[in-house]
């Protein structure tokens, strides 16, 4: 058993790092797009608002696997082939945006109306108010949700081995096939994810504490 652990610890760590990198990149992109979509959802023209709310509903209503498969396999029907990496990134971002939009929207809406009023009474322009008054406060209330999105997305990366991306899960399944030792390999993946998830949670907590100093 221990030689399996020794043999697979290296490749699995590399796979886990790939998962982590994909998570970080996709969450970063989802945050940027999510802010824009949230602004569109709150302040854009009506059709845009409806479009964005549909998008959110669909992303949240469909199983993750199905979304990934639609991007990777579905588009093959029309002759569009994505590499596993491209498909994975596309999906992770598309999926992440469905969640970040709502986080930013409710974060912004949770800032009391009195803050907008006070800023307006001082003559602060709309965008300055959003940037200097509303957004910094919203960010603090949003941080816990953003942390859980990072964890959620990290866990979602386990799915992309299904379309052939060689990450931690891929290492484990192919290892389980060749060595016939799933009893060791899958708990190893589980452990890797426990460490990463709890680590992210910890970082999130520290950031929350820093950001909420004024409270």
């Amino acid at each position: 058993m221990w030689h399996i652990v020794a043999n697979y610890a290296g490749p699995m760590s590399i796979g886990a790092l790939k998962d982590l990198s994909l998570t970080v990149i996709s969450v970063a992109v989802s945050i940027v797009i999510g802010v824009l979509f949230a602004a569109g959802r709150l302040y854009g023209p009506k059709p845009l608002q409806i479009l964005i709310s549909w998008y959110v509903e669909i992303i949240r209503g469909l199983p993750a696997i199905l979304q990934l498969f639609i991007i990777f396999f579905g588009f093959q029907q029309f002759g569009i082939m994505f590499s596993p990496l491209t498909a994975s990134l596309l999906w992770l971002v598309a999926y992440g945006v469905g969640y970040t939009v709502e986080i930013f929207r409710s974060g912004i809406m949770d800032v009391p109306a009195g803050q907008w009023e006070a800023a307006a009474a001082l003559g602060l322009p709309w965008f300055t108010t959003l940037k200097k008054i509303v957004f910094p406060q919203a960010l603090v209330t949003m941080l816990p949700a953003l942390t859980s999105i990072v964890v959620l997305q990290l866990k979602n990366t386990t799915l992309i081995y299904l379309i052939g991306f060689s990450d931690a899960m891929f290492t484990a399944t192919s290892g389980a096939n060749t060595t016939d030792q799933p009893g060791v390999l899958y708990p190893m993946v589980a452990l890797a994810f426990v460490i990463m998830s709890l680590g992210i949670g910890r970082i999130g907590l520290v950031m929350e504490r820093r950001a909420a100093m004024y409270r």
């Binding site: 199983p63 899960m169 708990p187 426990v194």
Partner: protein
């Protein structure tokens, strides 16, 4: 040009069989999750150090592991250790346990969110702690619990799709199978999407109506 409807009509009978499996797993896993979740919540609120610690570690660790990995542990790893479960049993068990940790936290949060004064008032009246929980705290916690609980139910429905990876013939399995036979993946996945979405919408509307009814009765 292919015709979407033709593919769909061909696929539908098998898809409905798959949907039935999906419904069964959802229902069974939900029952397990609610019961175990309540136990976990009570454990975390018991005031007994050991229970609190065990429940806390259990929740934190299970929640940190992706459902897919848990499924593989339950199906393949446990199989190697001598506990051979069918795909259906492993899937139900895994989803039940994973969502128990989610529901446990929801129950705990809902109970804690009830105003302290309510407990104090009940204690001042000399009610027993069972009566305080059953008659005072839980009825009020209900409205804190229901919205996030509904949310998690929709997550549970979606996550049942993962069981196709341990060869359960659920809706996702049927969609993938039909896709790889016809190569019209998009058509088949879209149909699966419609069915999942319909399930999700119907269920959330029903739950919303239920919540409204309870609220009216209480108002």
């Amino acid at each position: 040009m292919h015709v979407l409807w033709v593919t769909w009509i061909h696929a539908l009978p098998n898809f409905l069989l798959g949907l039935k499996v999906t419904l069964e797993i959802t229902g069974l896993a939900l029952v397990l999750a609610l019961v175990l979740g309540f136990v976990l919540a009570l454990g975390r609120l018991s005031g007994v150090r050991v229970f609190e610690f065990v429940a806390m570690v259990f929740v934190e660790v299970i929640r940190a592991i992706p459902v897919l990995v848990l499924l593989f542990v339950a199906y393949y790893s446990m199989g190697q250790w001598g506990v051979k479960l069918s795909g259906f049993a492993a899937g139900t068990l895994t989803l039940g346990v994973f969502y128990a940790t989610q529901y446990g936290e929801i129950f705990r949060g809902g109970i804690l969110a009830v105003d302290r004064g309510q407990r104090e008032a009940a204690q001042a009246l000399g009610l027993s702690s069972t009566a305080i929980m059953g008659k005072i705290i839980l009825p009020q916690a209900f409205f804190n619990i229901l919205p996030p609980a509904t949310n998690q139910l929709s997550n549970l429905i979606k996550d049942t799709s993962l069981v196709y990876t341990i060869s359960v013939t659920d809706l996702m399995f049927q969609a993938y199978l039909a896709g790889s036979n016809s190569f019209q993946y998009m058509d088949d996945f879209l149909l699966a999407g419609v069915l999942y979405f319909a399930f999700y919408i119907i269920l959330s509307k029903l739950l919303a109506r239920w919540e409204l009814n309870v609220q009216r009765r209480r108002a």
